[in-house]
Amino acid sequence: MLLNMGPQHPSTHGVFRMVLWVDGEKIVDVEPHIGYLHRGSEKLCEGEQYHQVITLFDRLDYVANFNNELVYCQAVEKLMGLDVPERAEYIRVILCELNRIASHLLYVGTIGLDAGAMTPTMFAFRGRERIQALFEAVSGARMMHNYFRIGGVKEDLPGNFEQMMGELLPLLREDVEESDRILTFNEIFLSRLKDVGTISAEDAVDFGFTGPCLRGCGIEYDVRRAQPYSIYDRFDFDIPVGLDGDCWDRHWVRVQEMYESLKIVDQALEQMPAGEVVSSLGRRLIRPPAGEVYVRAENPRGEIGVHLISNGTDRPYRLKIRPPSFCNLSAIKHLLRNSWIADSVVILGSLDIVLGEVDR
């Protein structure tokens, strides 16, 4: 039987469409269809000035906006050889790690829904809302912040930032622990996710997996550690890895990553110096010298890459984005074959795709 799943289906995480050939409850083959959210972001980037491109990057992975802004800003900074003030680096890291937690919390909520549990969603969203309230205080927007600038950040943190963080972090730790406890080792949840959607480490590398999906297979690869960017070499954190490369391992890695991110935020808050938040060069019209650069960073979903070519004008000549979700999603055919229909939503949920990034 040919079963069309999506683009309007509650658990395809946006406008993703899968055409499933099913034999009873078993999936024989699957044909994924993407592109329902295609906006031509890469082409749009070519028509905007360098600072204006930041808003476009906000809309790629729309649940981890800061991480996207960071990788773009770093690409331009590398091209220009621009130094970022210390304080700005710390602000960026704190916000990015908080955004990673927010993104993973969203993932915990949606995988709960995919597996049929409503309550974890509410628990996870409570934490996410708290983080977003902080983001709003910092940048003025809950999502689509447009806060990072080439050479720093838009403006300094609000005066009561330390106090807000002091209130937020214990609550956030509680939220993370709670959404971990309610789901991760639940027997039914385990039986739904363990040994489902298994992918071997070799296959994962071949498909271009990155991020928690790759680490779920037992490969200890994290750009923050493998090729430290920004100031990630100053923090002490572990890279959690899974064992079998199944859905549950991917879930477990994400949950552990939230604790690690909390650790990084704690350290960064302690070390954060005072001072400028944006370099004076970044305030002017950006005109990087002609040349090209490739910059990678660790997004909540994996490695995001930006290949930026400049011809010396105030607009990028070409900007190629390597979105992590897209590469992770490429294995969907491989993962879904011979699984159950009910597994398909769990596997898709455990890949944790964001269509804004897949379709660009």
Partner: protein, 399 residues
């Protein structure tokens, strides 16, 4: 005036009374469903850090009524490709079988529409009828998700019907009757929940599956088959399915209360009964109290159902079937066997409790081990990783 029918003779008055009583039952059950909708939304809300409905009426009490009005006023869409007759018949079958069960479920000694000697047989028979409606709904709506859901419901409900019937048989054996009033009366000293805890657990779990509540809500799983058989239904038709689902949930809870929790008999029953008749001014107090007590028990069971819904994810269809055939069915047969042994040799009651707890413990342990195997493996590996890390740190410090 007497109307003669081939098999029985009833007066017009009796017929009229029957009609009125049926209408009363329909109304009463509808009110119960409204209360359940409200209770579920409130209970779930509280479990999920929400408030539940608050805006319509005090504490949102009017919310179910507003919902009902909205559903009835909504446009009733019938897909062009659907099989109209089946599409119309399916909700009727489902809701009729749900209501028919209640004809013979007593709410107290006297409050029952029609007490049957073989009441339990009748109930289990009509409970199966509902499946037909679900399969027809899936098939008639000509939607692939509907068909999938309908077939899932058929597989699921038929598998879980067996343990339900088997446990009902065990309870019937204990009481020596399938008449619900007799079963309740024989629990006036000690409820069967204490004598046959195994039976209650199996009945409750299988009952959850029977009415498709979490974690067995596979046939209408929102995230997989998007409502299953109900996917093409809207407005009044959909609300009828909804009604039936809640009535069935209520029926299962009522059966748990009747079969295992002593129905309307209360603690210190004999004491209370001793002084109750001495208050001749309130002859209705005794019956009223028993209805209240019965409803209290049923709602307590219902709250457990909602609690489970607020806690668990849902199983996969193969896991669900495996659980039915590998755990539920053997357990229900075991409960029959131990009940028979207990009755035949006339052992004291606690032996049955012990045997039933032993069975529950063994199967529970096996299920638990199987389900937590990955968790143990992770713990092992985590311990190994931690040991390796400590070793590495120690060696780096030494170096």
């Amino acid at each position: 005036m007497v109307v003669s029918l081939p098999l029985m003779s009833v007066t017009v008055l009796q017929v009229l009374w029957m009609v009125v009583a049926l209408l009363l039952m329909f109304t009463g059950l509808s009110v119960v469903v409204l209360s359940l909708v409200w209770l579920e939304r409130k209970a779930l809300g509280r479990l999920q850090l929400r408030l539940g409905p608050t805006r319509t009426g005090p504490m949102g009490l009017m919310q179910p009524i507003a919902d009902a009005v909205k559903l009835i006023l909504k446009e009733d869409i019938i897909p062009n490709s659907s099989d109209r007759a089946i599409f119309w018949a399916a909700p009727v079958i489902v809701v009729l079988s749900a209501f028919m069960i209640w004809v013979t479920i007593p709410a107290s000694e006297g409050l029952v529409l029609r007490n049957l000697e073989l009441g339990l047989l009748y109930i289990t028979a009509f409970a199966v009828m509902g499946i037909l409606g679900l399969v027809l709904a899936g098939w008639g709506s000509a939607n692939k998700y509907g068909v999938l859901g309908g077939l899932r419901s058929a597989a699921q409900l038929i598998s879980y019907e067996i343990p339900v019937i088997m446990v009902v048989v065990a309870a019937g054996m204990l009481a020596g009757s399938l008449d619900l009033r007799v079963i309740v009366a024989s629990q006036d000293q000690i409820p069967y929940a204490l004598i046959l805890p195994l039976g209650m657990v199996v009945f409750f779990i299988a009952g959850l599956a029977e009415v498709g509540r979490t974690p067995f809500d596979i046939y209408h799983a929102e995230s997989e088959v998007v409502g299953g058989p109900f996917v093409e239904y809207s407005g009044a038709h959909w609300s009828v399915f909804f009604l039936a689902e809640y009535i069935n949930t209520f029926a299962i809870a009522a059966l748990v209360a009747l079969l295992f929790l002593g129905g309307w008999s209360w603690p210190w029953d004999t004491v209370a009964l001793a002084w109750l008749p001495s208050l001749p001014a309130w002859p209705w107090l005794g019956p009223l109290l028993s209805v209240v007590w019965f409803l209290f028990k049923v709602y307590a069971v219902i709250l457990v159902v909602f609690w489970i819904r607020g806690t668990f994810p849902r199983l996969r269809i193969d896991q669900l079937m495996a659980f039915a055939w590998k755990a539920m069915v053997p357990l229900s047969f075991y409960s029959i066997v131990i009940t028979a042994v207990y009755l035949y040799y006339d052992w004291p009651g606690w032996t049955l409790t012990l045997m039933s707890l032993a069975g529950l413990g063994i199967v529970g342990y096996i299920v638990y081990r199987r389900m937590t195997a990955p968790a143990r493996r992770v713990a092992e590996v985590k311990a190994r990783q931690a040991a390796q890390l400590a070793e590495r740190r120690a060696s780096s410090q030494a170096g």
